[in-house]
């Protein structure tokens, strides 16, 4: 089995990395904080020109027909640069949800309109019931919202928003409410629940990838700071007490990465096992990122917590994302449920899953 990313996947990741590392800098993130929308519209346009919103949309619907495994490293890069724009959510959560609705023959003409708008660079927000707030709700043109097990699609004019302040100044969150009417309903009951379940997995996986990217960026900034900063005639990073703090985070990152890649792969080939794999990824990634926030603030000394220090951008994003799409307790419970199933197939030969959920249960 070849566990490496393909040449294409690496080129996609490299293309996104080139753009994002050049265009999303700490100074430009701070610039967004004083703008009404909080968005860098030229960057969103650039992402659209690169083809990112179309990535996970099938070719028959005007997309590129790629999968989550093709995007996972890009989601990591979005985290690495602390990209404020909800690119990962648009590509990995909203577009596939709209495609799922169309594939099942649900909904109405507005679904295609919303998908076309998304592929054209407009924001389409997804309000999964597990998340109390929607990021950049005021800038979204369309909303996919939940009510019970129902899935609803509404234009921005049909929802009510109550903006809230996030711990992360790059995020513009709001509570969104709406009237659940049949006119806007795309799916109800079992089909609605199934759509929301797969959306939860995509959201949690994309967030996990971003969290690992954030953790890696915090480590890189800390290594640079502790190499440059001298005290008593030597770099502070030369002291074991500092090295060990950073090494602990590096180990957690290395443990989290394969779990995330495994989850992306499993979600693609064996969606029935995705709950378990994605929850494992979210727990591992959030742990690595939260450990990075603590240890990186420590090694930056008194600087780490200040407004002037860029580290705060990454720290606050990690705090915000660690609880999005389910906190640690929620995902541990999902793992627990999976492990204690009477006929759960566990073991190294099943790490990457085999067949569908039906096969697994039958066995």
């Amino acid at each position: 089995m070849d566990f490496t990313f393909t040449e294409d996947q690496q080129m996609f990741a490299e293309a996104a990395r080139s753009v994002l590392t050049a265009e999303v800098t700490a100074d430009r993130i701070r610039d967004r904080w004083s703008t009404p929308s909080g968005l860098d519209l030229p960057l969103l346009h650039q992402m659209q020109e690169l083809g990112l919103p179309r990535m996970l949309v099938p070719e028959s619907l005007g997309g590129l027909g790629l999968g989550q495994a093709d995007f996972i490293m890009m989601a990591q890069t979005c985290g690495y640069v602390a990209c404020p724009e909800p690119i990962a959510e648009q590509v990995m959560v909203t577009a596939p949800l709209l495609v799922d609705v169309l594939d099942r023959g649900l909904g109405h003409g507005a679904v295609q309109t919303a998908l076309d708008a998304l592929q054209g660079g407009a924001l389409v927000a997804t309000g999964h019931p597990i998340n109390p707030f929607i990021n950049f709700a005021e800038q979204a043109e369309w909303f996919l919202l939940g009510h019970g097990e129902g899935l609803y699609l509404l234009p921005a004019s049909e929802v009510t928003m109550k903006p809230c302040k996030s711990v992360d100044p790059s995020r513009r969150i709001a509570e969104v409410s709406f009237e659940a009417s049949d006119a806007h309903c795309l799916a109800k009951g079992e089909s609605g629940a199934a759509l929301w379940r797969s959306t939860l997995n995509r959201g949690a996986l994309g967030t996990a990838a971003q969290l690992v990217g954030l953790a890696q960026a915090m480590i890189d900034q800390s290594v640079k700071y502790t190499t440059d900063r001298e005290q008593f005639g030597k770099a502070v990073g030369a002291n074991q007490a500092v090295k060990h703090l950073l090494a602990d985070v590096a180990v957690q990152i290395e443990y989290a990465k394969p779990v995330i890649y495994r989850a992306a792969y499993t979600a693609a080939i064996s969606p029935g096992r995705a709950d378990f794999a994605v929850s494992h990824a979210k727990v591992a990634a959030a742990r690595a990122a939260l450990l990075a926030t603590r240890h990186c603030i420590q090694v930056h000394g008194a600087m780490g917590y200040t407004w002037e220090c860029d580290l705060q951008i990454w720290v606050k994003r990690a705090w915000a994302l660690a609880r999005e799409w389910g906190d640690e307790g929620f995902h541990k419970n999902r793992i627990h449920e999976w492990l204690l199933r009477p006929n759960a197939l566990l073991g190294p030969d099943l790490t990457f899953g085999r067949g569908s959920i039906t096969d697994t249960v039958a066995a």
Partner: protein
């Protein structure tokens, strides 16, 4: 009109280059490689000319080891139509590269050849000029603007103290300066299309060129570390030091 663009594989400009411990060469293990930035500008210019309808085909060529094909693929993703890889082991000198490019020029018969003015690893700034001499073509080096007008080419060059405008008869050679354009990023659909574009592999023997090195690298050393500065007591001391130690004022 066919345009030929040369690209070189170099250490990415964001990477801090380090010398090997034994000082024999630059450390290249696990170092990110990329298209030389000036060559990227050359690719962008050719693609823009194609988009404007001036150029009908953009052929990208790279001389180097097999890994150079990565940079050719990147150029194809940026919009070039096909690639040629001249496979050479080791690190060829500018004259050898110019001779190999001359072989490709003879075969392809482009009307316009665009190269970066220099590579950021060797910093030689020689290949374009040597190719101009070998191919007997007019050359517009350090171009900050080019305009094709019928069978001639107008090139605005960046020279000390200003700009120089030249008119060249095609076929001609252009080497790009930093301000010629701002290269685009490769889009995902174009990366996917690039895989299907043709990439021909050739070698010096097929081009009738003998690759023979005339230069031996004896060593590589990092620049000396900058000494710590000092604080001067007053302006008079500063002026004294600038005048007598640094000798930058009289």
């Amino acid at each position: 009109m066919k345009a030929l663009v040369a690209v070189k594989r170099v250490v990415d400009y964001n990477v801090k280059v380090r010398a090997k411990a034994d000082g024999s060469d630059v450390e290249l293990n696990n170092v990110k490689m990329a298209i030389n930035p000036f060559c990227e500008i050359a690719v962008e210019e050719a693609v823009r000319l194609k988009e404007a309808g001036t150029v009908s085909e953009v052929v990208v060529v790279s001389v180097g080891e097999k890994s150079s094909q990565e940079q050719i693929r990147t150029a194809l993703a940026l919009g070039a139509d096909r690639g040629i890889h001249v496979e050479v082991e080791g690190r060829p000198e500018p004259l050898e590269i110019a001779k190999l490019l001359k072989g490709v020029v003879d075969k392809e018969q482009p009307q316009l050849v665009i190269l970066g003015k220099q590579s950021i690893d060797g910093d030689n700034n020689q290949t374009g000029q040597m190719l101009g001499a070998l191919a007997n073509m007019g050359q517009g080096t350090f171009a900050s603007e080019i305009k094709v007008d019928g069978d001639s080419l107008q090139v605005i060059r960046e020279v000390d103290g200003g700009l120089q405008t030249l008119k060249l008869t095609l076929p001609a050679i252009v080497t790009t300066d930093l301000r010629l354009n701002e290269p685009r990023y490769a889009s995902l659909p174009n990366i996917m299309k690039a895989k299907k574009k043709p990439l021909e592999v050739t070698n010096p023997a097929e081009l009738g060129v003998e690759v023979k090195s005339h230069v031996t690298q004896l060593g590589v050393a990092p620049p000396p570390e900058r000494a710590a500065g000092i604080k001067v007591e007053d302006v008079a001391q500063l002026v004294d030091k600038l005048k007598n130690e640094a000798k930058v004022i009289s």
